[in-house]
Symmetry: C2
Subunit: 377 residues, 2 copies
């Protein structure tokens, strides 16, 4: 089944962007986990929160701390970039990073929400490993996995309300809650489609794109919309930054789909044609099925139904069909359109007389460039 | 594993209370489901929302409408009673029920949240039936079951925000969101404990009471607190009504535990000693284990470990041990304490010069009386 990839080859430019808020986001996540912990005399809830910490990569299965591997924190980073780019309430010229405090609870909230979806995804997909570690449900069972995911969902929501302590007005807070809840519902709609598609062979490109726009992009556009709403009252700016998030969200997914077929392992740490071996029904195969000759369609269906591993010759025949249907060109073109749309959305954001706001916009341009350029390698 | 019972024998007095808002709550639930439905050209999301409607008892597995069986709607009813009792913003003397609109989105929110927990509980407990119908996951699989539960969790949150359209201030809305999110986290803590207890034989009465106060009572006290917050700004009243919800929540559970052992099927539609046959580790067995002689403890452990069905003689020997440990008297006494505490909390609510507010307080007294009296039969 479809699942966003956790690996991302990081070029120096994007590395700077992804590391920019790492410390602050980690601190906000720790504060959120702490906030949820209700000590009790009769019972011990440590293992409940310990499971969450394990999933976040902070502790091992016996709850002993491990060297931190914080992951890329893409969604909270997007939220904070949108916050800065939209003005950060005019605070962003201050020394240090104190002005970030206003947006950090929302950043933690989005990251916890994303991680709740991963905990449940791992159960649904029967995935045994994530980041080369056993998945939560394989250690504590799927019952605890379902429930710890639910707990992280609730905790993600609870973390958001810390914005009230940072002086965010109740009205804005309620609107942020609405944006996040709507995104969560849309992500569940996307997951419903993804699970439904699993046993079907009649999935069109349009259906697939609708699914990923919900399952993957919705939480990214939610992140940039929330960040913008914390940074400005200008509705046009909020809409533009939300649209940027939607575009880059789909682009990231299509990039992964491209790399799943045409990446060379040396460059990107991925198996060439890995998604063919996994028979993953991502964008390339769906495009090829729509545009192949009847004979080629027949071959694709046969090889994707077959239960035995594909041999080199079979993989080559699938790649040859992709060639005949111009599938790679189509995917690259579609990726380019999404990046152009994200870039256009950014162009509509007013340039503020703030070094931090301009730098945030540059960082977002860097992200677009990264998504676009790495697949041309 | 422990699960709140869905059956409730309804006496005429409580029937009036439980039917009071049935129509309005059902309409609010339908509005909430409608609100979540995002039509799309490429894909069909009807079965996603159809699964939710099936769980709520509105449609059959092919999504055809069925005669409505709305369930008892206890939590939203508690919310609306607390709303009325606390003053309903001084609106409750109006004709009709229009003043309820302010609180109905919160009532729908709490009911959807409760139902999300039931969808996941059924998967965790491997339960095949609920209300004599196949559970959601047995029809659509546990992957869709996990996800539809997540979707209903999100929808429950989204439903809340309709209070903004009803004129509830952003600050109050954000506080209501906080109360609900905290309750959801505490419910997940309770579920963590419940799952953890399953394989353990060293569960004390104190641990069990801590578990049910989280898993069962937290959402009831959340409901009365939310209702009160919508009805008044007086913090003492809000606290009292929250405490009423906590007391009645635990009382309902202990009542179920009592009926699970000592109900006669004729009176209450339950198998006598049903929880003994199911070997459910509810309050009576935990109390008996703590107070039995070493020999009786040994007998209890042996019979509860045994995999074969218990015969009449074995059940009788367990009931005899309960007799020797005064377990029924203990449970009745504890139930009485919880009811007294709920009654005391109600006594602290100021009597307003409003017929509706006074009637709501009477309804809450009726609920307490119902919980207390039905187990003495």
């Amino acid at each position: 089944m479809f699942r966003p990839r956790s690996t991302m080859t990081v070029t120096p430019g994007i590395q700077t962007t992804l590391l920019r808020y790492q410390r602050e986001i980690q601190e906000a996540l720790r504060a959120a986990l702490q906030r949820g912990h209700h000590p009790t005399q009769a019972t011990n809830l440590d293992p409940f929160y310990g499971q969450m910490q394990y999933h976040l990569g902070w502790v091992d299965p016996s709850f002993a701390p491990v060297p931190l591997n914080p992951g890329k924190l893409l969604r909270p980073t997007l939220l904070l970039l949108a916050y800065e780019a939209s003005g950060a309430w005019g605070l962003s010229e201050q020394e240090g990073t104190d002005y970030l405090r206003r947006a950090l609870p929302a950043a933690a909230s989005v990251e916890l929400t994303h991680n709740f979806t991963l905990i449940h995804d791992d159960i649904v997909d029967n995935d045994m490993e994530r980041h080369h570690q056993p998945t939560l449900w394989t250690i504590w069972g799927s019952s605890q996995g379902i429930n710890t995911g639910d707990g992280m969902f609730a905790l993600g929501r609870l973390a958001l309300w810390d914005i009230l302590r940072e002086g965010v007005e109740g009205e804005i807070a309620a609107r942020l809650g609405t944006i996040l809840d709507r995104a969560c519902l849309i992500v569940a709609e996307g997951q419903f489609l993804d699970i439904s598609f699993e046993r079907r062979e009649d999935i069109s490109v349009a259906m697939y794109l609708d699914m990923i726009s919900r399952k993957t992009a919705a939480l990214m556009s939610c992140a940039t919309e929330m960040g913008a709403l914390l940074g400005t009252r200008d509705e046009a700016t909020i809409t533009s930054l939300r649209d940027f998030g939607a575009g880059i969200g789909i682009a990231f997914q299509v990039r992964d789909d491209l790399l799943g077929i045409w990446a060379s392992s040396a460059e990107l740490g991925k198996t060439p044609a890995g998604d063919i071996h996994r028979r993953k029904r991502s964008l390339p195969i769906l495009h090829a099925l729509e545009h192949a000759s009847a004979a080629d369609q027949h071959t694709l269906h046969r090889l994707y139904r077959q239960e035995t591993p594909l041999n080199a010759e079979e993989v080559a025949s699938i790649l040859a069909i992709f060639e005949r249907t111009n599938t790679r060109a189509y995917c690259l073109d579609f990726l380019g359109q999404q990046c152009a749309s994200a870039r256009q959305a950014l162009a509509n954001v007013p340039r503020l007389a703030s070094a931090n706001a301009l730098r945030a916009l540059e960082d977002m341009e860097t992200l677009i460039h990264f998504v676009e350029s790495t697949v041309h390698a």
